[in-house]
């Protein structure tokens, strides 16, 4: 275990090093934010002053050294647009993003896995066929389109759910969250569904594939012959052995959900960090972009770590040291 932890931490450092280098090279070589800050007809002197304020007048290696030193302290510089600490801005927006992601993940598990189990166990039934065709449709839909249809149907035509924003926030365990109020739930449900559709579809396909394979195995036939109830065979025996790939994809999906929040949040004007990123890109707000990418990189390494730990719990045969 200790050996594994060391390996993981080394990997984290390596990923962060490469990512930070890439971010730095790209952001310093491409696009100059100075021209966004100064007046349109600024004089040379004003431009020079702004460059000095941002530290852009120093040579590149010096800039990188300073970038890493500050990043280690959690300081990615002031956002050019908000004139506040970039990391702080992201951390402020993080709970809003996290709650949409959590609700979307819950929907994925509650809807995706049972449907996948069912259509894998009874592939010939009409219901399974409908599920399969809809799941292919689900992975073929652009997520922004789902969002627009949701807004159109539930907000504009039926008028039962709000169009955008986060609604009232309440406090659970000292954390401000929309999940604590009814109004918050009314706001979160459309973005969460929009985010979840593609995930549900791919979880269904994956679970179904694994189930079909497992149902053919002898131990399932044996369990059935022994008289184990059908539900227990499906969820106890077959599903358990399908879980490894499902957990892997789950980890990957959690990552891609965070990426896709940029779209969902843009459509629903949800004040999370995805929208912050898109706004920052549109205004070349480098500190926010760098802070976001590094923040997300750390998060992904962490998610992969948790997934690895989960493997050993699901399947004790897996040895992480190899």
């Amino acid at each position: 275990m200790a050996q594994y932890l060391v390996k993981r931490i080394m990997q984290l450092i390596m990923v962060l090093f490469i990512v930070s280098l890439l971010i730095f090279v790209f952001t310093s070589v491409l696009g100059n934010p100075v021209y966004l800050m100064v007046r349109e007809n600024a004089s040379e002197e004003e431009i020079q002053k702004a460059m000095e304020y941002l530290g852009l007048d120093k040579p590149l290696p010096v800039q990188y050294g300073r970038f890493v030193k500050n990043a280690l302290k959690g300081d990615f510089g002031m956002s050019y647009m908000y004139h506040r600490s970039a990391l702080q801005l992201i951390l402020e927006r993080f709970p809003a993003t996290l709650e949409v992601v959590i609700v979307a993940m819950l929907l994925t598990v509650i809807i995706g896995i049972p449907l996948g189990v069912f259509s894998g166990a009874f592939p010939k039934s009409r219901f399974s066929r409908i599920v399969m065709v809809s799941s292919i449709a689900g992975i073929s839909l652009p997520s922004f389109w789902i969002g627009m249809v949701m807004i159109l149907v539930f907000s504009l035509n039926l008028g039962i759910l709000p169009v955008s924003g986060r609604g009232a926030v309440g406090s659970i365990l000292g954390i401000e969250t929309s999940l604590a109020t009814v109004d918050g739930w009314r706001h979160i449900i459309l973005p969460a569904i929009t985010l979840a559709v593609q995930n549900i579809a791919s979880i269904i396909r994956l679970t179904r594939g694994g189930m079909q394979e497992n149902m053919r195995q002898d131990y399932i036939k044996f369990a059935r012959a022994k008289g184990v109830p059908r539900r227990k065979v499906l969820f106890g025996h077959a599903l358990k052995n399908t879980m490894i790939p499902v957990v892997t994809i789950f980890g990957l999906q959690l990552g891609s959900l965070i990426a896709f929040t940029t779209i969902t949040e843009t459509i629903f004007a949800w004040p999370g960090m995805g929208k912050l990123l898109i706004d920052a890109i549109n205004s070349s707000d480098r500190p926010i972009i760098s802070a976001y990418i590094l923040f997300v990189a750390v998060m992904y390494v962490f998610i992969n770590f948790v997934v690895d730990i989960l493997y050993t719990i699901i399947d004790p045969r897996i040895d992480l040291n190899n």
Partner: protein
């Protein structure tokens, strides 16, 4: 799928107007709902947008851009991925280690995020999208090809060909590529679909194609701005068409996978 392709190739000859030719559109035609609704005009079957463009025509023109990006992007990705995979597997050593490390780091990030990041650096443009897509997509090809090269390399007949002095290139072409060609066909089919979706999403975020050559995603993005004033058809129909295209591609991919995979038979 044939229908989609035919529409993209020959469609412009049948549409009522070229939506991006200013002399062809009339502002008086703006805000028309689809023909089957009250106030619709039979000339504009799916209605018109705020500038009087026929939605059906924008879809036809947009699908050309979307399909072009999906198909050319996949070919490019495939070429890069296969080449790197061959190099990595055949020569091994440091090059192999370097390529696979890069692949590992890249795989720990979702493709969408990398694509967003790349596009924000490169700026809008069709060539830039193709570059971004190729940069996010090559890893899967490289891995498949590398794995196959490694397993082929160990077999005796390869040793034999080396002994009789066949050049590297011939060994690779004759013995490795035939083994991976089916996986690559299946992967590429799916890749076209996923690239079309990625491109649509990027364009929707304003990080995709230039305004002058809108793809289906870009049209949706424009339409989204008037969604709240009741012009739902401007964005909903193009989105539906994206789904139709990608749905068709995915069905084809599933079919090919089942047909070409001898293990499932």
């Amino acid at each position: 799928m044939f229908f989609v392709l035919l529409t993209a190739i020959f469609g412009p000859y049948f549409t009522v107007q070229n939506p991006y030719d200013l002399s062809d559109i009339q502002l008086a035609d703006a805000y028309k709902p689809p023909a089957y609704l009250e106030g619709g005009d039979a000339k504009f079957i799916l209605g018109t947008d705020q500038q009087g463009r026929d939605i059906l025509s924008t879809i036809v023109y947009g699908s050309r851009v979307s399909l072009f990006i999906g198909i050319v992007g996949t070919l490019l990705t495939c070429a890069i991925g296969v080449t790197l995979g061959l190099i990595s597997g055949y020569f091994g050593g440091k090059i192999d280690a370097l390529i696979m490390r890069i692949a590992d780091v890249q795989l720990s990030f979702p493709t969408m995020l990398i694509a967003i990041f790349l596009m924000s650096l490169l700026g809008r443009g069709i060539a830039n999208i193709l570059i971004s897509l190729a940069l996010v997509g090559w890893v899967r090809y490289a891995r498949i090809v590398r794995g196959e090269v490694l397993s082929v390399k160990k077999q005796e007949y390869i040793e034999a060909t080396k002994v009789i002095g066949l050049p590297n290139f011939r060994i690779i072409a004759k013995h490795v590529l035939p083994n991976v060609i089916t996986s690559i066909i299946v992967l590429s089919t799916m890749q076209v679909g996923s690239f079309i979706l990625t491109e649509a999403t990027l364009s929707f975020l304003g990080l995709g194609v230039p305004v002058t050559r809108p793809s289906l995603g870009m049209i949706c993005s424009d339409g989204y701005q008037v969604l709240f004033s009741g012009l739902w058809w401007v964005s909903i129909f193009p989105g539906l068409y994206i789904m139709l295209i990608v749905f068709g591609i995915n069905l084809l991919g599933d079919f090919l996978r089942d047909e070409l995979n001898p293990k499932l038979k």
